[in-house]
Amino acid sequence: VSAVPYVVGAYAGVFCLFGIWVSIMMRHTRRRRRELDELERR
């Protein structure tokens, strides 16, 4: 069995998992900050 697809899969999978997770968190924070700013303006 060639190990290449497994090694690539493991590294790519981990980077995708954390990448998606960070982008979701940052999007949430940005949205909440926007809402905070709107609330302040009102």
Partner: protein, 225 residues
């Protein structure tokens, strides 16, 4: 350290770690290329378990001081550790498939004990969010985090005392019989995993703090009307 500096430090260390893993560390004579997964899997496993124990210490601080910010820190640390645990189980399974020919081996204490710890912490969130009163929620969650945090080193010791069947041991007096170049690569990968953990924790903490502030402002705005 500011968030951007932390993100930059994490990216730089991860880049160095990747370069060392694929360009510097020699191929393992026995396992070949599949051993490269070890530089990803083991540091993440160490950071996960340390994260669970640190969350217990933060929860203890919350119970002692009554400061809700420690409860938030404990909650976020457990959340990030759980995400890391998913990655540990995934990479471990991939490595097992290449090395042992099986995705999972039920009679291996290391694998099953990690799964037990993971499932134990999966109960944290349902327990936490099944309680409506915020003070009680924080208190009960803290008790869970302390108890489960104390279970982690006990579990690790129990596995050490058990007879290993197939899973290799890295944290030993001989360092898993690694040559210097592999040890250096492993050390850098461990620092990268720790920095990644801190970054994810910081990003989530900021998100949660903004959400709390937003809720408070909404309440104030409603009261003003």
């Amino acid at each position: 350290m500011r968030t951007r500096a932390l993100i930059a430090a994490t990216a730089a260390t991860a880049a160095v770690a990747l370069a060392l893993i694929f360009l510097y560390a020699p191929l393992d004579a026995d396992q070949g290329l599949s051993q490269k997964i070890f530089y990803l899997h083991v540091p993440m496993a160490i950071v996960t378990l340390v994260g669970f124990m640190a969350a217990g210490a933060m929860a203890l601080r919350h119970l002692r001081t009554g400061d809700r910010s420690w409860d938030l820190r404990s909650y976020v640390t457990i959340h990030v550790s759980l995400v890391f645990a998913v990655a540990v189980l995934g990479t471990g399974s991939i490595w097992a498939r290449v090395s042992w020919g099986h995705w999972w081996v039920w009679n291996e204490p290391m694998l099953v004990s990690f799964l037990i710890v993971f499932l134990l912490y999966c109960c944290y969130q349902p327990l936490r969010f099944s309680i409506e009163d915020p003070d009680r929620q924080a208190r009960y969650a803290a008790v869970f985090a302390i108890t489960a945090g104390a279970f982690v080193p006990l579990n690790f010791l129990a596995v050490r005392l058990a007879e290993a069947y197939t899973h290799p041991r890295v944290l030993s007096a001989t360092g898993g019989h690694m040559p210097g170049s592999m040890r250096l690569t492993f050390g850098v990968a461990l620092v990268a995993a720790a920095l990644l953990f801190m970054t994810l924790r910081r990003v989530e903490l900021e998100s949660k703090r903004t959400a709390i502030e937003l809720r408070q402002r909404w309440r104030l705005a409603k009261a003003a009307r």
